[in-house]
């Protein structure tokens, strides 16, 4: 099912520190293609849960419209929307066994008992919890509870599956396992899925599309691959990617970008007035080092490992940055080396507004 969101806004009665009403979601417009997995990504408090709760019908919208395919569902209550929802804390019914939990939506729909159980068991097998059908939720691990919650959300064949940070309670290893599991379940069932997370790595590893939000405003909505290679603004460039993108403060001149604290220039072309304060952002893999003559001078600080790769920490003028180097790089602290930037993964932003120039 296709989901269309038009100018969706949610204001809360509570006030922020400036005395303004909190706008948890601000004029958001997007269209989620059928059968895709969309990640709703952003820092804590940016309105992801609010957004999800409006999609499920738990929260009424302040203004704007939500369409499922071509039906306007903006004013439908949750029980009429045919969505599946998995809460951050799973919200399993504590007095029901796993089987009863999964059967519950079907019981409400008055599906005959035999069919109910058959369908529940089928879903339970799909999410690999068929061994625990007679246990109570409190007798399950976090990962198992989560899969029960997913099964319960899927069993009624929802048109839309909504997941609110379902992995945040799990340990790192289980989290990796479970997100692949979610991806598999989503592919198998083909249900349009919205997955909320504040972890950019989780979002990029699992989703087809990413909606990146900040303070209720959508910053970018694009295919997952594009959001890394083509960030809309500085916030997006900074939020996506590990290690975090390097940021050099400086000035735009006719011949390129001049970092603060040096007179050398990094050649880059953009449609900006000369003298504008800008930020050059460069991914770690777009920074290359040589001990020859080509590029801008930089002072070597240190070198350290990030798992399988090695990062070299250097200063260009007043700016600090990191780039990948070979593991056998011969480190001489304080040495002056040359740095070059690739075309890909290097962007120029306005220093104040974060607007992208190139």
């Amino acid at each position: 099912m296709k989901v269309t969101i038009k100018n969706l806004t949610k204001k809360f009665a509570s006030r922020d520190k400036n005395g303004e009403p909190v706008i948890a979601v601000n004029n958001l417009t997007a269209e989620f293609e059928s059968g895709k997995l969309i990640a709703l990504l952003g820092p804590s408090g940016c309105g992801k849960s609010t957004m999800l709760n409006m999609l499920s019908g738990i929260l009424p919208v302040t203004s704007g419209k939500i369409y499922f395919d071509d039906t306007d569902v903006t004013d439908l209550t949750p029980d009429k929307r045919e969505v599946g929802l998995v809460f951050q804390n799973y919200a399993l019914y504590p007095h029901m066994t796993v089987l009863q939990n999964i059967c519950f939506p079907l019981k409400i729909k008055k599906v005959p008992k035999d069919e109910r159980i058959a369908r529940a068991k089928k879903i339970a097998r799909m999410v690999h919890i068929d061994e625990y059908l007679n246990r109570l939720p409190k007798e399950l691990s976090g990962g198992q509870q989560q899969r029960v919650a997913i099964a319960r959300a899927l069993v009624k064949n929802p048109k839309l599956l909504l997941l609110d940070e379902p992995l945040s309670n799990l340990d790192a290893k289980l989290r990796l396992e479970m997100r692949e599991e979610i991806r598999r379940i989503q592919r198998e069932s083909g249900v349009t899925t919205v997955f909320v997370t504040h972890d950019q790595e989780e979002a990029t590893s699992i989703s087809d599309y990413i909606v990146l939000m900040k303070l209720g405003v959508m910053q970018q909505f694009s295919a997952t691959r594009d959001i890394y290679n083509n960030p809309a603004n500085l916030f997006v460039a900074d939020f996506i990617g590990n290690p975090t993108i390097n940021q050099l403060h400086g000035e735009y001149t006719s011949s390129g970008f001049k970092p603060d604290g040096t007179d050398e220039i990094i050649p880059i072309k953009a449609d900006v007035a000369e003298g504008t304060r800008t930020i050059l952002a460069a991914r770690a893999e777009s920074v290359t080092f040589n001990k020859g003559e080509n590029g801008i001078s930089a002072k070597v600080n240190d070198m350290y490992s990030s798992g399988k790769d090695w990062l070299l920490n250097i200063d260009i003028g007043n700016n600090n940055l990191r780039g990948y180097c070979d593991a056998d790089y011969e480190l001489i602290p304080e040495e002056i080396i040359k740095v070059q930037f690739k075309d890909k993964g290097v962007f120029l932003f306005d220093e104040k507004s974060g607007e992208r120039y190139c």
């Binding site: 738990i58 949750p78 969505v83 929802l85 919200a91 504590p94 519950f104 729909k109």
Partner: protein, 274 residues
Amino acid sequence: MKKISAGRIITYVLLAIGGFIMVFPFIWMLISSLKTWAECGSMPPTWWPHNPTLENYIYAFKTAPFLKYFRNSVIVTIVCTAATMFNTILCAFTFSRLKFPGRDIIFSLMVSLMMIPYEMLIITNYTTIVKMGLYDTLVALIIPFTSSIFYTYILRNFFLSIPDSLYYSARVDGASDWQYLWEVMVPIAKPSLVTIGLLDALACWNSFMWSILVVGSVDNRTLPFGLFAFTDQAGVRFERLMAGSSIVVIPVIILFLFCRKQIVTGVSKGGMKG
């Protein structure tokens, strides 16, 4: 061998003494009810009756219609308790889950009603019942006790402790408010509900003053009233009185034995939730 500390022994001894003091009157009542008039008055008192007899019970059932009293008590208790539970559940749900203007103010007003002493309510209730033409009927025994603000208050607080996400989850699963209440909230609150139900049933079963006021004829007496009347009929015959008392008390003790587990867990759970 496992060593038992002195403190432990003292604790057990004290508990045993306390338990004995609590239980002794009941045991004495049962024992006395099985004795003859002569043995009951003998000095020094005998412990176990020499010739245990059901004579006194037969007398009690003959002189006073205890079976009828019993039936009335059962009817009044069941109807009162069922109605109270139903109203308590609905009211607690309304004041914990539904949102409407003035909800909390209305609820505080209701809670403040608990400050009115029972004796004052009795007078107004009495005139109301008489005006309604219900004097000397079982209905009069039931109507004033079909809701309880105190239980509503307790249950509302329990309902408030159930996370919102369960509600939303149930709504997304397709449940209406009504279905959510009966399928999710009530089962979760079962221990509290059992406790409330038992406390209420006990209060109904033992309710005395009110029945004396609004019931006149023998046909509509409940057990406590019946027993009270029986004291006149039994006169000074202590062993007969004890038989009558046993008839009143034994059903409650049996009920407790059956529901002991629920009562204990209900009370301790309610306590932990604060």
